[in-house]
């Protein structure tokens, strides 16, 4: 657009300073009101997404603050990235070990980077109660289970007998769980939420009976007990 010989910027014509200012003020207020509404809604749901907070959990949280644990560690993924995340630590290590470690880290593990702070036995108990509480908070699936470790069965703990059968029979040649495995057969990552135990068992005995034109062979020869164990494993995949 031009007026005379002077080309004019689109904005200079269609948007005055005052309009820009009003857009800034009222637009920001608009988004802040939405944010407040979402905050209000979130606050009403938080207690349902976590176990009850006992006095001991709170005492443990205060220990967490007192020693500035977040100055090295992260919790719920937030913190200082210098030491391991504490959200699920009680699932990874036995409580007895953690308590001894907290009270004197280098006595338990000479290579530990953590210094001895003088954490008392009572403080350690409270802190572990707090860490147990935080491990049970519904975090929308974070931290994710490491996919390769889960596939190899080293993501914490012994393989269940169902998992062993899954590996021994080479099921992952065709099926995929958490991104690992073949794409020939249906993905099984969430098979436990799609199928019930009866269906799965029947399917292992004679796949084409429940899925028309199924190309999967029958595994009836493994016997009832093995198929039950495999079914149980499938049902954990949700």
């Amino acid at each position: 657009m031009t007026i005379g010989n002077k080309p004019l910027n689109y904005w200079e014509v269609y948007m005055s300073n005052k309009a820009a200012k009003n857009l800034f003020i009222f637009g920001s207020l608009f988004f802040f009101v939405i944010f407040l509404a979402l905050t209000f809604d979130t606050m009403s749901t938080l207690d349902k997404r976590a176990p009850e907070i006992t006095e001991k959990v709170n005492a443990g949280k205060m220990v967490w603050h007192k020693y500035d644990c977040i100055g090295c560690h992260t919790i719920l993924g937030n913190g200082s990235y210098f030491a391991p995340d504490m959200t699920k630590v009680v699932e990874r290590k036995p409580a007895g070990y953690l308590k001894k470690f907290l009270m004197d880290p280098k006595a338990v593990n000479p290579k530990a980077a953590m210094p001895k702070f003088g954490i008392t036995s009572e403080e350690a108990d409270n802190l572990l109660t707090f860490l147990d509480w935080i491990s049970k908070v519904d975090t929308n699936g974070w931290p994710p289970k490491p996919i390769l470790a889960v596939a190899a069965g080293v993501g914490g703990g012994e393989l269940t007998s169902g998992q062993k059968i899954y590996q021994a029979q080479g099921c992952s040649g065709c099926h995929m769980i958490n991104g690992i495995g073949g794409t020939t057969g249906p993905e099984l990552t969430k098979v436990g939420s799609r199928r019930d135990g009866k269906w799965l068992h029947e399917h292992f005995e004679d796949p084409s009976k429940v899925v028309a034109n199924s190309a999967m062979p029958s595994y009836k020869h493994l016997g009832d007990q093995a198929l039950n164990e495999l079914t149980e494993y499938m049902l954990t995949l949700k």
């Binding site: 967490w64 500035d68 937030n78 990235y81 390769l148």
Partner: protein
Amino acid sequence: MTVKYEGQKIAQNFYTFAVLLFLVQVLVGIIAAIQFMKPDFFILNFNIIRTLHINSLVVWLLVGFMGATYYVITEESETELWNIPLAKFQFWATVLTITLVVLGYIWMGINPQANSLIMGINPLNEGREYIEAPRWADILIVVSVLLFLFNCVMTVLKTKKWTGIQGVLLSGLVFLALMYIPGMFYTKSMVKDQFWWWWVVHLWVEGSWEIIAGALLAFMLMKTIGAKREVLEKWMYIEVGLVLFTGILGTGHHYYWIGTPSYWLWVGGIFSSLEPVPLLFMVWDAFRTTREARNVTNRPGLFYTVAHAIFNFVGAGLWGVIHTLPQVNKWTHGTQLTTAHGHLAFYGAYVLLVIAMIYVTLPSIRGVKEYNPSRAYLSFWWMTISMVFIVLTITGAGMVQTYMERLMGLDYVAVKTTYNFWFWVLRAIFGVGFLIGVGIFVIDYFKLGKEPMPVISAAPEKA
């Protein structure tokens, strides 16, 4: 070319304190970098060093904003500061409070039990990242900020020249002060603790601080190249508007995994993906205005202004947006990638901003028309190249960590002490490079305008 009002000279007090804290921040940063390789390296443990590193950063930037604001408000209002003794009192009260807080951290580092509860309150350290300052210090800081804001508002009211720049600057500062309050109460739930904590941290650095940056950017472009106020202010409104339209709900990208409902995955993902847009506008604004420049009066000032706009976009925008979507963030959350983003974002968005404001305003405060710019450029390249490499090494460490810990399931400590070791070595080396840049800047800050102009740089083309 000297300042018209005595009140503008107050800015220099704040700048000096900021510059010294900047030096402290980088020195303890190097200690922290060495502790990644040797945790027992220093008398104070990493948690105290890290607290000092991030707290000195936050404080020196805030103090820098305050100094810059005293300068801008008097200049824009075309009147003397409402109460100069009050500003001086506010300055020394702030210095005293910060010194006490720092001594408290050091004491706690030597004797951790000194932080035991007194009347239900941790006396030395709240144990909450970035806002570790204990409650008594919180209150003193709020009083200091309120005195500062009151002085500024009274100055504006003297002449009632509500320019867009000072209106936006003050609204950013009021927003900043308000957003400190959600960090000042205790909650028994760690989920609620982190929820409100992000109000402070996110709505500061991706909200109110970016508003301040938008206002100061417009001011600096106006001062260094005499760009037209009407055009600058319109773009400023659009930029800071977009900052809040995206940034407020963008807070949701911190509410993916902390125990909050899953609708935040949608809200945070969508709005935080748009957060780089206003920062890109600022870059475009800086280039467009500079291209039209006829008479540049302060080349180092302009240089730092444009550099701030670029690295604000790269550090805060690009390095953040790469892992802001929940599908990516699920794997990268809590890894070194966040550290990498944090370093480049704070450097680009706020370190360069405060240094730019110093170069734009200090010559007139010191009453010099021209000064030798060579150290200003030299320190910029030492700092910026070092910071880019620091960020690349941490990004590398973060990618290795994401792959090995999150995807393969290796132990955190195994990844940190073995696979990422050489990244830490390189980061420490580039940290020393950054310290050299800061050293040159600090020398330049204290010498600017106080030494005779060398003949060679009399011609501005030499810059």
